[in-house]
Symmetry: C2
Subunit: 378 residues, 2 copies
């Protein structure tokens, strides 16, 4: 962005912007480039760019069937990554943390000389206690009150804390900052994996509630009559009716699991295979009820479908749309755009990276000095 | 509150508080009183009180079966009021506005000399466009896009704009400011009349969404299987399953309506009359599903039951509680208190008064000068 555009966006004058960008450039967070030869009249304004290649975070994504670790540059570019499949069940905290720390350390050590790691963020598919990254409840792994954040920090051993967030919460931030929801501060992000997670921004801020556990979209009861069993112990939750188990069981593939299995059913539905098409339509119907309820409650500007719901929504949009027209109040739904994730499978990873960058962005000069000195002593 | 307590609450020193309260006292908004003889040591701090009897707003409440107009003093005290029943259907904008303006003008003219009207607020049982008080949708009266706020302002003719809000939104603000939800900025207020309205505060602010029509709790679909018809045109909405029609029909009194009819059924249920008890229990069950969904989504500190839901919840608490334990996530529900409205039937009226006071509270010195001069010229 040019200095002139920055000044306008922030409502300050050009000399203030010059002073600020010079400070940031001096500590190596941005660089200022003379613009391409301008065709118009007037003195062209310098362009300010983040030092994407020099300032990075480590971002971890603990998803249901894979572990991803990446080096993500300032500005959201994935510079390097490692990915591994994860056994679906019976994985304890120590195994996950050790595996992640190994991959993370590998990326960290492979970072070019002169680069700096400004933070660490992690996305986890469960309920996270704000502040210390404790997993309060992770149904897929069967985790209850596991000290994921502090254990990963200690195993990683690079002198930086690990900021942990729920995958759908981070996906919401990522889509708002860099994806399908840019410019829409009232945003709902729905993330499909085994279940359905939700991240809801109200006026650009994550809906935390009294203790930080808001947004449990997946456990909204949508089918009180003959609801399917849910991992949470209840029945008829949105995620029980629309998640992976419901879809795979409906097409006679109850023993399988994972994104690829879900996607193959959705592809078959798109190609008109009748059993798959019926299964996807039935799930689209339940999903539409959930989205209509959310539209009535939140009057969102955008609803973003991520994870496996990205592909599912593309095929089930007629059912979802019909339910929204049937159950959504006209004035609540008239401004709501329904969109596929702009970041695809990397939404949660990019969200983890943004969480890792948060301390730096809140207080750049102090934080960059602190991280540089921490890493010299490691 | 004493000057010392104010200074602590606002994080400023005592001389700053003295300067501020002196300015407010000079324009007649507060008075400062020497405290009762203090028993403890040290110089006692002056007590600052709002000029409740001298500074008031006109507050209007258009409820389903009654119209209320009141003079409400700064600090939330009802100083004078008029109330009239309202025909249930077929009432056009002009009739309602003329009736309200007449009562309002009567109270305004009867205000003692030396008092000042600082604003006008109105509560309406429908969807209100933010800014101009247009009723976008008022199902009970069959109103669509009726210019309620501007028409009432013009009919009232006292030179002050009318700030209009939805009744449940205003009830939420009132319960947070002066009722059961003091100290709980993550608050859900549920208001029962014909239907069920909701006002949801997230971090102390009303959940507005993209265009100000959030909080449509009553049209959350809870019964997709054999749901009752709803006034909105859909079926199985929370308000269709828990509202007045559902309750009165279940006890064979389908032709009746109004708060008193609802309350007589709830009283009969409390006294053990079997048909009434079964009807209230069934409605408590649906209400519990709705509240459990809201707890999962919002992780509230408090859920307040107002309007006719106040009495209904008192009797149906076992069913509501059972559904919350069944469908609410433990970490989402562990901090949520369920409480009856602290303001009773005046919650929406007090909320309208607070909305009327908002301009004054945002900018007291300018606004009090402006209203005084407007009223001199009326």
């Amino acid at each position: 962005m040019s200095r002139a555009a920055l000044a306008e966006r922030m409502g300050v004058n050009r000399s203030t912007i010059l002073a600020l960008t010079s400070e940031l450039a001096a500590v190596g967070l941005v660089r200022e480039e003379s613009p391409e030869a301008a065709l118009g009249a007037g003195r062209p304004s310098f362009v300010v760019r983040p030092e994407t290649d020099r300032v990075f975070v480590l971002a971890f994504d603990v998803a249901v069937d894979r572990l991803v670790v990446a080096r993500v540059g300032l500005g959201g570019t994935v510079l390097d990554r490692r990915e591994t499949t994860r056994p679906r069940t019976g994985v304890d905290l120590d195994t996950v943390v050790t595996g992640l720390a190994e991959l993370g350390r590998e990326l960290y050590d492979a970072a070019p000389p002169g680069t700096v790691c400004a933070g660490v963020g992690a996305s986890y598919c469960g309920m996270i206690r704000p502040g210390d990254g404790m997993v309060r409840y992770g149904p897929e792994l069967g985790w209850v009150d596991q000290a994921f954040g502090t254990e990963l920090e200690s195993a990683l051993g690079i002198g930086l804390p690990v900021a942990v967030g729920n995958e759908a919460h981070l996906g919401a931030h990522a889509e708002f900052a860099r994806g399908a929801g840019i410019g829409s501060p009232d945003l709902i992000y729905l993330h499909g994996d085994v279940g359905v997670g939700g991240g809801i921004l109200v006026g650009g801020r994550l809906l935390g509630g009294e203790s930080g556990y808001g947004c449990e979209v997946g456990h909204m009861l949508v089918n009180p009559h003959d609801g399917r069993e849910c991992l949470c112990g209840s029945r008829g939750c949105l995620e029980a009716e629309t998640g992976e188990y419901a879809l795979l069981e409906a097409v006679g593939r109850a023993g399988e699991f994972g994104r690829e299995a879900v996607r193959s059913v959705v592809r078959a539905a798109a190609e008109g295979e009748p059993t798959a098409a019926a299964a996807v339509a039935a799930i689209g119907d339940w999903l539409g009820i959930g989205v209509a309820n959310l539209i009535n409650l939140f009057n969102p500007g955008v609803v973003v479908f991520g994870g496996t719901l990205r592909e599912l929504y593309a095929v089930a949009a007629p059912q979802v749309g019909a339910r929204i027209r049937q159950h959504g109040m006209p004035v609540s739904r008239e401004r709501a755009r329904l969109l596929p994730s702009g970041l695809g499978d990397d939404a949660t990873l990019i969200g983890a990276a943004e969480k890792g960058f948060a301390a730096l962005l809140n207080n750049p000069l102090t934080q960059i000095a602190r991280t540089r000195s921490a890493q010299t002593t490691c």
